[in-house]
Symmetry: C2
Subunit: 355 residues, 2 copies
DNA sequence: GTGAAAGCGCTAACAC
DNA sequence: GTGTTAGCGCTTTCAC
């Protein structure tokens, strides 16, 4: 390839290509989009001209005309978590396969961001949106008059939009039951908040599952062992356990609501001389890559992140094609992944007993 | 807010707003963009009309007119790593502060992706690009005739584009020297590859620093302890250490080239009964949140990810304003962050001695 | 299979 | 301060 060739000043347009190929702009358009049959010799001439002029179609113009940008938005509360990274990876990969670009947005930092995205999608140059809402109560979708194509991620209980979800209540029940079966009797739920600003639908459902498992075992969970965590990050998890310990709460297992929270909890436990799983059992949620490689490996609730992305993109594509179709909620299978952090059968955790 | 109001069918345009407010479209435009003075009463009328019609400006049209989308691309090799997540978080936050949206791209999965992004930026509806190139040798920028506004992340040795970088050679030298001072004598470099497909500029510089530190201490590094890793992920790090052990190489410290690699290494070491830092010292690169919370906390090279994002966006903005300005390379300060994974002064690691 | 004309919604350049 | 004109580059009719 030649170096230092001067850039062909003003970018070539379809008109230029058409002139060089001695056809009309429409024919060039047909060649580019493949939207109509073009005879082989004509196509050749056009393609040669495009190459010669280094033609790059102007997406803005196309978009203005046909109303689609080919860009979808992906809006997550916190982009720095391991789960966000995994999901972004999967969505970008799958979207690219479909010829779509992904614009990424972070919603937790700014309360109005969700609302702005949902109400003014077009202003952001996106065709539609995959949204993991921070909170149900003032989730933008509940308050919008007319919605752009949106696929919700998570268990938000509404039927105004398409959504993908895992059965969080059930999953939490399973992992909690597993830990009870391993001998834990004073389990802590880490991440749940039933009321207030941070009560996400996901948190509430996982807390519900946590309680259901206790009830099914003829036990009951204690309010002082149901802790909210904010943010749902490593730091948030560590801080919550610090508070738990300094509050003098007795416990022998922790059901963390994300793997990141679990990682933070693990660190704080260690700081206080508590071993996982000998003293305290520990589990997470999401099965990020990290979970399998922590020490001990983390018991968690896994689901296929790629399937999740595919389902979301499928729903979004269908919605873009037909805005009036009935909304759907697509469940994604989850499974309990038992690893070393919840110990061995028959070896109950010693527990943490404050002085 | 009223629910179930039917969407006002065809979206309102500036023309509609202008008609309702009894002004010209240009005045509406002025109100929206703030690009000219508008008298208070007029502005009021226009704003009322916009509200009444639920007007959302059409970005495609604006873009077609003024040539800027307000979207910048962020292209990283692998979006699922902790460092990618951190950097994405910082870039999105800072870009949003500047009124820019971020389109995210992943380049490692597909060899042509980098090239496509650089050569056809406009086709992706982005004004410019922040790019962390996978490889120097066939880094797209080296082969492009005319480049869109691009800021390179990392130590790619070229002057055709702006770039931000940390002094990787120096940083690697510092962390290696630190580990030698802690008594390690058979250090492994994990992530370097000098030749071939995976020899990134970053990897080569860190390897150089690793060797320089040895030379400065009157020691020399051994080829069998300089390992390439691919991908630069937790799994990649674990696998590399597995190979190291099964190859029967003797070692007492690991200088991993990212924190993720270090996490994987830590896991593999543990699998083989090797303790950090008693048997083997361990260090990483990047100081992701995780590093401080691992057990033991990870010694690493830290730099401010937010500063990194700011510098990149500043350079990109300046380039967008003046395409002919001289390119700049902006260094970002780094610092050695010593934590438990490299042990204590005077306590040399026992080392791994194959049977 | 190809072309001509019109226009998507906005803003630069200029008037007034 | 505000209006008029023109046109960004493409694609959608609708001819031929």
């Amino acid at each position: 390839m030649l170096a230092n060739m001067p850039p062909r000043s003003p970018r070539a347009t379809m008109k230029d290509v058409a002139a060089l190929a001695r056809v009309s702009p429409k024919t060039v358009s047909n060649v580019v989009t493949g939207s109509a049959q073009v005879s082989e010799p004509t196509r050749q001439r056009v393609e040669d001209a495009m190459r010669q002029l280094d033609f790059v179609p102007n997406l803005s113009a196309r978009t203005l005309r046909n109303g689609r940008t080919g860009i979808i938005g992906l809006a997550l509360p916190d982009l720095s978590t391991a789960f966000s990274a995994d999901l972004t990876h999967a969505v970008v990969q799958e979207a690219h396969r479909r010829g779509q670009a992904v614009q990424i947005e972070e919603t937790a930092a700014e309360p109005d961001r969700e609302h702005d995205l949902v109400s003014r999608a077009r202003a952001h140059l996106i065709d539609g949106l995959i949204l993991n809402p921070v909170r149900l109560e003032d989730s933008a979708v509940e308050h919008e008059e007319s919605l752009p194509p949106v696929v919700l991620i998570g268990e938000v209980e509404q039927t105004r939009t398409d959504r993908v979800f895992i059965d969080s209540r059930r999953a939490a029940e399973e992992v909690t039951a597993h830990m009870l079966s391993r001998g834990a009797r004073r389990l802590v739920a880490l991440g749940g908040a039933e009321h207030g600003e941070r009560a996400t639908a996901t948190a509430r459902l996982r807390l519900q599952g946590f309680r259901d498992a206790h009830a099914a075992a003829g036990l009951s969970s204690a309010p002082e062992r149901e802790l909210g965590v904010w943010p749902w990050s490593i730091g948030g998890g560590a801080e919550a356990v610090e508070q738990l310990v300094s509050a003098g709460v007795e416990f022998d297992g922790i059901v963390a609501f994300t793997d990141s929270i679990a990682m933070g909890a693990r660190h704080a436990l260690h700081r206080h001389g508590l071993s996982v799983p000998d003293d305290v059992l520990l589990s997470g949620f999401d099965d990020v890559e990290h979970a399998a490689y922590s020490i001990p490996p983390l018991t968690t609730v896994g689901f296929d992140h790629h399937d999740y992305a595919v389902a979301a993109l499928d729903l979004l594509a269908a919605r873009l094609d037909d805005r009036s179709r009935a909304t759907r909620a697509e469940p994604i299978a989850h499974r309990l992944i038992v690893r070393g952090s919840t110990g061995d059968p028959g070896a109950a955790p010693r527990g943490h007993r404050p002085a």
